[in-house]
Structure formats: C-alpha cells, structure tokens
Amino acid sequence: MATKSISAAGQRTLVSGSTTTGRRRRRISGDMLLAILVLLPSILAVAIFIYTAIGWTFYISTVKWNSQVIDYSFVGLRNWLRMIGDARFHADLRNLAYYAIGFMTQCILFGFLLASLLDQKIKGEALFRTIIIFPFAVSGIVTGVAWRWLMQPTTGINLLFANIGLDWFQPTWNTHPRYGMWAVTIATAWQFTGYVMALYLAGLRGIPQELREAAAIDGAGTYATYRWVIIPLLMPVTFTAIVLTGMNSIRVFDVLASMSGSGAAFATDTLAFFMFQSTFGAYRYSLGATIGAFMILLSAFLIVPYLRSMRGEVER
C-alpha cells in the first residue's frame, strides 16, 4: 500500500512541477532530477509488479492455458468469447449492477448524513467519529463471517424479528436466490460507510464559514443551504466517493467469499470470485486472466475520467 501511495503522490508532483514558469526552469529541472531519482525505486516497483503483471494478464488471456499443463499457444479472443458467452458472467454483471447500486447508494447517503450530523459542533464528536469509522478497520473476512451469522435465516436477526412479533418478516437475506446481492450490500456498506463519512466530514470542514453565513444572510434555510451551497460544493467529494465505492464494487471478494460464496445459482457471485474459482478451482488460467483483464478495463472506465478531472483541478 505504502509504495503505491507514494507513487500516486509522485506523479502528481511531476504534474504540478511542469506547470511552473520558464524563468526558473533551470533550478526546477535540478529539482526534477532529484525528484525522479527519489521516485525511481517506486516507479520501478510499480512498473514491474503492477504494469508488467497487467500486461502478462492480458497476454495470458490470449493463450490456451486452461489446465495445469502450461500451454502458450495463441488462441486470439477465444477466451474472451467464452467468458462473454458464459451464463455465470451474465449473472456476475447483473450482480455487479445490483451490488454497485445498493452499495454506493447506502455508503454515500449514510456517509453524507452521518457527516452532516457530526458537523453540527456536537459534544463527543471525536468519539462518534471513531465509532462510525471503526468497521472500516475490520477485515472483510471478519465482516463476512459476522454478517453471515447475523443473516442466518433462523437464528440471526430473523430471530430478533420473530421475538418482537414480526413473524411474517423472515427474509432469507444473502441466501435469496434472486436478491441475495442486495443483502450483501448491507454488510459491505456497514463496513465502508464510515470511510465515506470521513471523506464528507473533511469536505464539510473545508467549506469556509463565510459561505454559510452569506447564504444565511440571503435568507436560505437549512434545506436551501444544503441544497444550493453545501452539496454543490461537495461535488468533488461525492465524485471521489463514487469512484472509490465503484472500484470497491468491481473488486469485492473477501466479504462475499466468507458470506455465501457464489450463492445459490450465482445469486451472490462476483467477477472476482469467478476469476478466483476459474483460476484456482478449475485451473483455467487463461479464462481467469480474461476475467481479470475485463475487471481492469472496467476499473479503467471509472478511474481514467477521474484522474483526468483531477488534473484539470490542479491546472486551474
């Protein structure tokens, strides 16, 4: 994690360095040299362990290595066609949509709500902040196991419902063959909402007090202030939250693996789980690589516009 963060910061340093004025160019290029030298180890590490690995994954997706016997004969797009034709892949795309909608909505909605509440200059704010962000420190596997127990249809939350007279409300939660994925998002949103809350809280703190005062002077009530001042100002934060939760939706694995695996008829299957099972369950390396490559492309759709907009932000 550490090296990746440094390199991400590093790239941004280079970007801002290149926008300085011409008069001081010579001294800056000395700085640049130093910067490049300092960054070289992490650039190399990223190049080898990330970009080479990505390249290798794309390459493996075009060969015939679908058993333990290594086979590098080129088959073109056959693995891709096989993946696209697979009913499991279709189920995974459907699940991705369910998951992304459920997970992102809950995280962003509750994250914003909690941050707004914490921003009211309340007592014990630090305590509440810690409590809310705490689930983020719990590993995905633990989250999954705990929520599997909670969602067990006869002994979990359902027992609680039954005991308070809600006998008729006994959903099967994450094991529902059609809507299991929605239940899973409750568990993952529980884990991730605190983080989104922290993002929003930082964003709220960055909004100058004068703007709120100005809005108040103009006669805006609480609703109007949020609707016309605060929420628009927080758009970059929302954008960040969308990208982060979106990425999380694409690669979710651990919580699901420990909750219900692929589920009944792939009700809770994901691309990542499909990739894992293809590679290490069925030893279809090329198919696994194809799914991985597809996930990278999907992530790129989210991250590339994001990085471009970030660059625009800096140049302004």
Partner: protein, 442 residues
C-alpha cells in the same frame, strides 16, 4: 482544530486522489496477486532443517486426530524429524483453499514434501499429467503394496500403469443415514431401499411435518454428492464410466431421469436448504426438528459419533445395494520435494498396516489395505469392509475419483442450478456444456 485549517479544498483533493489511486492499483493487481489465501501463512520450510511438511485440508474433529495418529507413528520411528502440519480448511469445494495454495506452490516450483489428494483423476489430471509427481512404483515394490491394496484401487491411483500416490483410506459415498425415531413417528416401517419407496416414505413424513431429506445447497457441492448416487442407479457400470470418457453422452435420457429424481427429492428436503451450508447440515440433522434422512458419505458416521448422537442407522442409498461409490484420500510425492527422504518414509507409514489401522478408526473410514486388524473397527466400518470386498466399485464424481477437477466444479454448479431453479433441462444443458469444456467428449 489544526486539522480543519490544514485541510483546504486543494489538499483534500490531493489526499482523496491518493486514496483513489491506491484503490485503483490494488484493484488492478488483484488478478496476479490471488494467493491472498495465505501464501505467507504457510511459508516453505527451510531446506536445511530436518523437516517434513504435509499439506492437507484436514482441520476439523476426527480428521485432525486421525492425521495426528499417523504423525505419532512417524515420530516414534523418526524422532529427529520436525513435522510441519500445513493444513488449510474449507473454501469452494472440498479443500478448496488448500488446493488453491497448493497450486500456487506447485506452479512456483516450491512443493511441500507431500500433500493430500483425492485418488483418481484429481491426482492424475491436476498433478501427474503436468509432470509434477514422482512415480511410486519403487515404493509399492519395497513395501509390498501391490499385494495388499485391491487391484482396482491401484488402477485408480495409476497413470500409464504406474502408481503415483499411496491411498490411506476408503470412503463410501452412497450411504443413506436415517433416524429410526423419525421414520417411526411418520409410520414408515423401514428405511427405503428404492427411490419409489423413498418417495412413498417422503409423502408419509411430509404428512407428519418432517422433512424427508437433508440438503445443504447455499453454495454448490452438497447436491452434487447426492446426485452422483442417483446417477449410478440409472446407468450400469459401463454406462456410468462412459460419462467420463465420452462413450455416454451427458444428454442421455438416463441422466435426465436421474435429474428428475433429484428434482423431485428437493420437494421433500428441509425447506431452507438454499440457506443451509454443508458445514451446518450435520447440526441440522441431529436437531430435534431435523430431517429424517440424509444421503452422504460415510465420514458422516464419524461426525455424528463425535456429536454424541446415537439415534441413527445406515443403509445403502436407494437403489444402490450392491454398489460401492468409492473415494479415497491419498498422499503423493512431488518432484523436487525439499525433504524427499522424510517424505518417502512418511508414505511408507501411510501405506503400512499400523498406519492405516491408526488412522481409519478415528477418521471413520475403512483402510485401503485388505489385511486390517479387524478388532479396531466398529460395526459400521466392518459392514463397509464387507461391502467393499463384494460390491461393484464405482468412482465418485464429486470427490475427484472419476473425473478432473474443472469438471467437478462445473458439475456441482449445474446441480446447484437445479436446486435453485428446479429446471431439469437447463441443468442438463449445463452438464453437457461442462463435459464439452472438460473435453470429456471424445
């Protein structure tokens, strides 16, 4: 409130970009970095140390104790060797996590000294054909194993006439476990011996409010086990074996019939079978309101005993009297095992009479050897030994004996699909596709 002042908008954006970047990179690296299962958790032992590293998926109840019984015999003979028990449980399918980790070690050229593997195609397709295993002909000769293992079993362990692993046990897949008190309560006189009798009994049980059959299908595998024991009732020996070499097609109408039987059986299963996991099913079976019958392998015997449960009996699964659907756990010798001599000695213990008689009574399985000390085995195991000698042996699908692992995965998924959608035609087309993908079709 320093935090508040420093976090102006630009800094904040930088900060969040950093987070997004890191998230993006970890998303991208995922395909290559799959051994998150615990590559670090089980480091390869130092080659210099006098060790013996054994991989297995035996981590629960009787399994661990049985394995320890073999270790004890080994340690008594070789006290200087430190045994590294690298066991890893669970995952998708039997021993899924362990197999995933094993696969990364084997691909990376860092095999353990020996590892558990299902006898049959799982061993052969996964490890022998990729040329990762040593031929054990020499060990079979030296230990006289050719004379004490049944010939059929050695054939299953062999590829091109050479044995590649040492079986430590024999499990039977086609056993019907039932609770006499439940059958009595519903007025069922005896355990069903045919599927017709089963459905008649199931109706009676249903009328009495008792689920007839225990099923755990929250994810694939359990019904796959049940289904193999229905398949063998519809196809004769040649027809069944033909499913794995292309001479019987998976769209055969006898396969359809078997799927229909299973589909009908789901009507009488515990209603929450899509929410029940294989790990929980034994607790469900012994519960007061549990199902009356369960079709499961004979490790169930050991599990039920370890729960102190006594209200159960056994019979061959319906229509399988005279058939023995067999699976076996075995240990092999990977090429370049870091402590080859220790591993060979371990395999000697595994194949020995003392080793097998220590392991099997605890595991709840019968020995692969034909000369066990009968006084060590209980009533069920003695009856299983009798059947093993006289019955027609058929390899298990779900447990890797009959067919390669990639097919087993797809097969279990197809049956899970039937359990969920109750659509025989769609499940059968998935089986046909699985056979095509596995290149079983000649």
């Amino acid at each position: 409130m320093k935090f508040q002042n420093r976090l102006n908008r630009r800094n904040f954006m930088k900060f969040s970009a950093l987070g997004a970047g890191a998230a993006a990179l970890s998303a991208c690296v995922a395909p290559g970095a799959a051994p998150a299962t615990g590559g670090a958790a089980a480091p390869a032992p130092a080659a210099g140390a006098n060790q013996l590293e054994i991989f297995s998926w035996w981590t629960s109840g009787g399994e661990v104790e049985a394995l320890n019984a073999i270790y004890e015999i080994y340690s008594a003979q070789f006290p200087d060797v430190e045994i590294v028990n690298a066991a890893l449980a669970g995952g998708a399918g039997q021993g899924g996590n362990m197999k995933a980790l094993l696969e990364t070690r084997m691909q990376g050229g860092q095999p353990p000294d020996s590892f558990q593997v299902h006898l049959g195609r799982e061993l052969i397709d996964s490890h022998v054909i990729p040329d990762r295993m040593e031929d054990l002909s020499f060990l079979y000769e030296e230990e006289g194993l050719n004379d004490v293992f049944p010939k059929d079993l050695i054939d299953i362990a062999s590829y091109e006439g050479k044995p590649y692993s040492v079986p430590v046990n024999i499990h039977r897949s086609n056993v019907l476990w039932y609770r006499p008190s439940k059958l009595e309560a519903a007025g069922v006189a005896a355990a069903p011996t045919t599927w017709d009798e089963f459905f008649a009994a199931a109706e009676q049980l249903k009328a009495a409010g008792i689920p007839a059959l225990a099923i755990a299908e929250i994810e694939p595998n359990f019904s796959g086990h049940v289904f193999e024991n229905i398949l063998v009732t519809q196809l004769d020996q040649a027809g069944y074996l033909g499913l794995f070499n292309g001479s019987t097609a998976w769209d055969d109408e006898r396969v359809t019939k078997a799927l229909e039987i299973l589909n009908q059986a789901f009507d009488y299963a515990n209603t929450d079978y899509l929410s029940t996991s294989w790990g929980d099913i034994n607790d469900r079976f012994v519960a007061d309101d549990g199902p009356a019958m369960m079709i499961m392998g004979d490790w169930t015997h050991g599990v039920l005993m370890s729960k102190g449960f006594t209200d159960y009996r056994w019979a061959p699964a319906p229509d399988t009297t005279g058939l023995f659907v067999v699976l076996s756990d075995s240990f092999g010798l990977p090429k370049n095992a870091p402590h080859r001599d220790n591993a060979v000695n371990f395999l000697r213990v595994c194949g020995s009479r003392a080793g097998q008689d220590a392991f099997n009574p605890i595991k709840g399985s019968i020995p692969a050897r034909t000369d066990p000390d009968l006084s060590k085995y209980d009533e069920y195991l003695l009856s299983a030994m009798e059947d093993f000698k006289s019955n027609t042996l058929l390899p298990s699908i779900q447990h890797g004996a009959a067919v390669k692992q990639s097919f087993v995965l797809d097969y279990a998924i197809a049956i899970n699909n039937l359990a969920t959608n109750r659509d025989v035609a769609s499940a059968q087309s998935m089986l046909v596709q699985a056979a095509t993908d596995a290149e079983l079709v000649a």
